[in-house]
Amino acid sequence: MKRIFLSAALALSFIAVNAQSDRYKSAMEKLIATLDTTKTVDGYTELGNSFQRVAEAEKTQWLPYYYAALATVSAANNMFVTGQTDKIDPIVDKAAPLIAKAEELQKDNSEIFILKKMYNTAKMMADPMSRYMELSPVAAEALATAKKLNPENPRVPLLEGQDLFFTPEQFGGDKNEAKKKFEEALKKFEAFKPADNLAPHWGKDQATYFISQIK
C-alpha cells in the first residue's frame, strides 16, 4: 500500500512538472506564432513585453529573453522603415539588457550573435553619419561570429543579403550579390532543422520577399 501511495505521489508530481513545462511551451508557442505574423510597432512592443514576462518568471530559459530582444529590435527596425529614426534609440536601448541576459544563460550561440548584429545595425541606423565608424565594425564582427559558431545558420546569409540590399551602390551595396545571399539563405532554410519548435526558425519569408524585390 505504502508503495502504491509513493508511486501515486511520484506520478502526481511528474504531472505537475510536466504541466509546468507544458505551460511554458504552450505560452511560448503561442507568442512565437504571433511574432511570426506581427508587423506593427505596437504589436512588437506588446510581444516584447509578453516574452519579457515569461523570461522573468522562468529566469533560467534563454529563449524568452532572445525573443523579447528580437521583438524589440524588430520594433526599432519598423521605426527605421517608416522613417521615424528619432524614435529608434529609446526602443532599441531596451534590447541591450535582454541580449545580455540571454547570453548569460546561453554562451556562444549563433542566434544570439545574429541578434547582436541586428541590435548594432538598428542602433547605427538611428544616426548613421556619426555612428557608422563605431558601430558598423561591431555589427559586422557579431555577424562573423554568428557564422563561425554555426556556418549553416540560414539567418547569416539573410542578414548579409540585407546589408547588401539596403546599402546604396556607391557605398558598396549590390542587389545582385544580395540576391545570391538570399538564395543561399533559402537553400540553408531547406536544410535547417530547428532544435525544437521553440528554437529560432524565422527568416524564410523575408528571404523570399527580398528575392521578389530584386529583378
Binding site: A11, L12, N49
Partner: protein
C-alpha cells in the same frame, strides 16, 4: 494501481479546469505625472506569465488564474517602476490608476552647457563631432583652428593660441586626460602663428569652454580646452601618409583579447619644396623641418577601468631673414631650434559603491634655442651701433610636471560629488646671451598646489546645478586664492534648455614678464554667462551673452631691451558680448553648415597700455560660415570655411620717462578669409578592400584676399609696416592610407 493513476490524472484535470474557471480581472490606466496617458508600459504580475501592455490611451486589462499574494509591476525604460502587492482570491477584481515618474537619466536629464562647446560622438549636447574637427576647411587637422570657427574666439593670425572673449592666448589653458599641457603649440615665431602640436585623431572628445568652466580646472582666466584621448582602437591598423610637405607612418595594434593596445607614429615634415613653389615673405636660410614621433599604450584594468599612456617627441628647426624695419638696407635674422617631449599617463577606474577615480600625471620638457641678429645686403652677420640688442641668443629650457587626482561619488540618481587635488610644477630656465657674449641666466620655479570640490545636483530631469570651488596656493608668489564656481541648467522643452554660469578664475602672471617675483599676485577674472540652447539631430541653435570682469592684471614697468617686465597687479578690464551659433544638417539636402557670430565689447588696461582700451587682439565683430557637403557619387567631401573679423586696433606705445604714451594708433581693415578643402575617398566602402584611402586638397585664402593682422614699428617709431601672412594663399595636397594589419579587419571589411 492503474486505477489510482487514472484517478490522479482526472483529479489534476479537474483541479486545473477549476483553476481556469476562477479568474481575477486586473485593469487600470497608466499616466505620467502630468496625467498624460503612457502607452507601451509593461504590466506584469511578478513571477508569472500574466500581464499586459498599455494601449495608446494608457489603459490595460488582463485576467489571471493566479491566487495568493502577488506583486503587480508597471515598468518601462526611463521611468521609475511602480510596484503594488495584491491579494488575489477567487474572482477578485482590481482597478488601478498608476502614475509613473520619470527616472533621472543621462539620456533625459538637462546638462549644464553654459559657456561650453563639446565635440563628441556620444553626448547629446555636443555641437561638433571629432570628424568635424578634422574636416573643417582651413583647419588642416589642427584642433584649435577648427575651434576658431566657433563663437567667442578671435581670428588672430599673427600669433598662435586661442584668444577667447577679450582674453590673451595665455588665458586659455589646455588639458589632456585631465592634466595641464604646457607648450601645446609649436614655439612662437615672430609674427607667424604656429600650429598645435597634437594630431586631432588621438582625441575622442573635446570640451571647449569659453567661460564659466568647472572647478576641476584652474590657472586660466578665460578658457579651458579639455581634450580626452581615445580608448582602445576598434581594430589593428597601419597608416601611411604622403605629401609634398613630408611623410608619415604609424601602427596601432589591438590585442586579440581586446583589452590591450599599443601603437606609434612618426612624421617627417620639411617645407623646403613647398616654399620653393609658394613664395614666402621671409627669405628662408633653413626651411622649417620637423621630426615628430609619438607612442602609446592602453589597457583595460577592469570592465570600467583603463590605463592610458601617450608619449610625444618633436625636434624641429627653422631660420629666415627679412628686411629689417630698424635699419634700411639691412636684414633681421631669426633662427629657432626646438626640442619637445610630452608624456601623459592616466588611470581611470570605477570603484565599488558608486565611487570613481581619475588619476593622471604628465611630464614635459621643452627647449628653444633662438638665435637673432642682423645681416647686411650680402647676407653677412653684422652688429650695428645702436642696434646691438638685436644680436642675441636665447636658450629657454622648461621642465613641467603635473599631477591630478579626482574622486567621484554618485550620490543618488545622477547627482554626484567629486573632489581632488592637483599639483603643477614648472621650472623655466631662460638663458640670454647678448652681443658681447655675456650670459644672463635665471630660473623661475613654481609649485602650485590646488584642492577642488564640485557637486552635480539633479533636482529633477529638468533642473540641475553644479556648485564647486577651488583653492590654489602658489609657492612662487606665496599667495593663495579661493575660486567659487556655480552653474545652473533648466530644461525648457524636449529640445531646449537655458543655463547660467558664474565663476571666479585666477592665473599666475606669465613667466615671460617675470624677472623677479616682487610683490606680484594672481590676476583674476569673474565670469557671468547666460545661455539658451536648442538641439536636435539636425539643428543646433545656441545663443549666449556674457560679462567678464578682470582684476589684478599685470602692468609692466621698466623695459630691458624690448622686453616688458611685470611691475604690479594694477591692471584691470572687462569684456561683454553676445554670441550666436547655428548649425543645420537638414534644410539643404546633403549640406551641413554652421554659422557663428560674436559681438565683443572689451577694454583693458594691462602691460604697457597708457589707459584702458580695446586690445589689439580683440575685434568687435567676428563671424564664420562653415559648409560641408559629401557627394556620394563622387566619393568626395567638399568643405568651405569663410571667416570674417572687423578691423582690430593697433598701437605703437613708447615709454617717456616712465610714462607710457601713444606714438601712433589706428585700426586695421576688416579681415576676410575663404578656405576650401576636398577629401576624396576612392576606396570608400568598396567591397573586399582592406584599405582606407583619403586624398586631401586644401587651399587657405583661396581668393588671395589681402589680409592685414596689424602693424609693427621700428624701434625709433619712424617706420611702420603691415603684419601680413607669410604668403597670400597656402595649398596642401596629401594622400593618407590606413590598412588592416590582421585578419579581423579583413573579415570585417568583407562583411561590410
Amino acid at each position: 494501481m492503474k486505477l489510482l493513476l487514472t484517478t490522479a490524472l482526472s483529479l489534476a484535470a479537474v483541479i486545473s479546469s477549476q483553476l481556469a474557471n476562477s479568474q481575477s480581472v486586473l485593469k487600470g490606466m497608466v499616466t505620467n505625472n502630468k496625467s498624460k496617458p503612457l502607452p507601451g508600459i509593461n504590466i506584469t504580475l511578478k513571477d508569472t506569465y500574466d500581464g499586459a501592455t498599455t494601449d495608446s490611451l494608457g489603459r490595460f486589462s488582463f485576467s489571471t488564474t493566479e491566487k495568493g499574494e502577488l506583486t503587480l509591476v508597471a515598468s518601462s525604460t526611463g521611468l521609475k517602476p511602480f510596484e503594488q502587492v495584491l491579494k488575489l482570491t477567487k474572482d477578485s477584481s482590481y482597478n488601478f490608476a498608476i502614475q509613473l515618474k520619470a527616472e533621472i537619466t543621462e539620456l533625459s536629464a538637462v546638462v549644464v552647457t553654459a559657456g561650453t562647446f563639446e565635440a563628441s560622438d556620444k553626448k547629446r549636447t555636443a555641437v561638433l563631432t571629432p570628424i568635424d574637427v578634422a574636416t573643417t576647411a582651413g583647419a588642416n587637422a589642427d584642433v584649435t583652428a577648427a575651434l576658431k570657427t566657433l563663437p567667442g574666439t578671435q581670428q588672430v593670425g599673427e600669433s598662435e593660441g586661442l584668444f577667447v572673449r577679450g582674453g590673451t592666448a595665455a588665458e586659455t589653458k589646455t588639458f589632456i586626460d585631465g592634466t595641464l599641457v604646457n607648450n601645446f603649440f609649436y614655439s612662437s615665431i615672430p609674427n607667424i602663428s604656429t600650429r598645435s602640436r597634437f594630431s586631432p585623431f588621438i582625441f575622442k572628445g573635446t570640451v571647449f569652454s569659453t567661460g564659466g568652466y568647472s572647478a576641476l580646472y584652474g590657472q586660466a582666466l578665460s578658457s579651458a580646452l579639455v581634450l580626452e584621448t581615445i580608448d582602445l582602437p576598434e581594430q589593428s591598423a597601419g597608416s601611411l601618409g604622403f605629401s609634398p610637405l613630408g611623410i608619415s607612418g604609424g601602427l596601432q595594434k589591438l590585442a586579440k583579447n581586446k583589452k590591450f593596445s599599443w601603437g606609434f607614429n612618426y612624421d617627417y615634415t620639411n617645407l623646403w619644396a613647398v616654399f620653393k613653389v609658394l613664395k614666402q615673405r621671409q627669405d628662408y636660410i633653413k626651411e622649417p623641418e620637423y621630426h615628430t614621433g609619438d607612442a602609446n599604450f592602453r589597457f583595460k584594468t577592469s570592465a570600467t577601468g583603463m590605463v592610458k599612456y601617450y608619449g610625444y617627441f618633436s625636434r624641429n628647426k627653422l631660420g629666415f631673414r627679412e628686411n629689417s624695419i630698424d635699419s634700411i638696407g639691412y636684414k633681421d635674422r631669426f633662427g629657432l631650434k626646438n626640442f619637445n617631449m610630452y608624456h601623459n599617463l592616466s588611470w581611470r577606474e570605477g570603484l565599488s559603491n558608486g565611487w570613481k577615480m581619475n588619476l593622471g600625471v604628465s611630464y614635459a620638457y621643452n627647449q628653444d634655442d633662438i638665435d637673432g641678429g642682423m645681416q647686411n645686403s650680402s647676407n653677412q652677420d653684422v652688429v650695428l651701433q645702436g642696434l646691438e640688442w638685436k644680436d642675441f641668443g636665447l636658450q629657454s629650457k622648461g621642465k613641467y610636471f603635473n599631477a591630478k587626482a579626482v574622486f567621484e561619488k554618485r550620490i543618488v540618481g545622477l547627482s554626484a560629488a567629486r573632489f581632488g587635488v592637483e599639483y603643477n610644477n614648472s621650472n623655466d630656465n631662460p638663458n640670454y646671451t647678448d652681443y658681447t657674449s655675456q650670459h644672463y641666466d635665471f630660473t623661475i620655479q613654481e609649485h602650485l598646489k590646488s584642492v577642488f570640490a564640485e557637486t552635480d545636483i539633479y533636482l529633477t530631469n529638468a533642473l540641475a546645478a553644479k556648485v564647486g570651488g577651488r583653492f590654489e596656493h602658489s609657492a612662487l608668489f606665496d599667495r593663495s586664492n579661493i575660486a567659487p564656481r556655480a552653474s545652473l541648467a533648466y530644461k525648457l522643452g524636449k529640445e531646449s534648455q537655458a543655463s547660467l554660469a558664474y565663476g571666479m578664475f585666477y592665473q599666475n602672471p606669465e613667466t615671460r614678464y617675470l624677472r623677479s617675483v616682487g610683490n606680484l599676485d594672481f590676476a583674476k577674472a569673474t565670469h557671468y554667462v547666460a545661455q539658451y540652447l536648442k538641439t536636435n539631430k539636425n539643428i543646433t541653435a545656441r545663443f549666449e551673452v556674457f560679462y567678464k570682469k578682470y582684476d589684478n592684471l599685470v602692468k609692466t614697468g621698466t623695459q630691458y631691451n624690448n622686453d616688458q617686465v611685470a611691475a604690479n597687479n594694477n591692471g584691470f578690464g572687462d569684456a561683454k558680448g553676445i554670441e550666436v551659433f547655428w548649425r543645420d544638417k537638414k534644410t539643404i539636402k546633403n549640406l551641413d553648415y554652421w554659422v557663428s557670430y560674436s559681438y565683443l565689447d572689451t577694454k583693458r588696461d594691462f602691460l604697457n597700455f597708457p589707459t584702458a582700451m580695446q586690445p589689439s587682439f580683440a575685434a568687435k565683430h567676428t563671424g564664420s560660415l562653415v559648409m560641408k557637403k559629401f557627394v556620394t557619387a563622387w566619393k568626395t567631401g567638399f568643405n568651405m570655411t569663410y571667416t570674417y573679423s572687423s578691423g582690430r586696433p593697433y598701437y605703437n606705445i613708447y615709454n617717456d620717462n616712465g610714462i607710457n604714451k601713444f606714438a601712433d594708433r589706428g585700426e586695421t581693415d576688416d579681415f576676410h578669409n575663404v578656405s576650401f578643402s576636398l577629401n576624396y575617398l576612392p576606396k570608400l566602402f568598396s567591397k573586399g578592400a582592406n584599405k582606407f584611402t583619403v586624398l586631401v586638397l586644401s587651399v587657405n585664402n583661396i581668393f588671395g584676399i589681402k589680409q592685414t593682422y596689424g602693424y609693427k614699428y621700428s624701434y625709433n617709431s619712424i617706420r611702420k609696416e603691415a603684419i601680413v601672412p607669410p604668403s597670400r594663399s597656402f595649398v596642401f595636397i596629401g594622400l593618407f592610407m590606413s590598412f588592416g594589419v590582421d585578419n579581423t579587419e579583413n573579415v570585417i571589411n568583407s562583411n561590410l
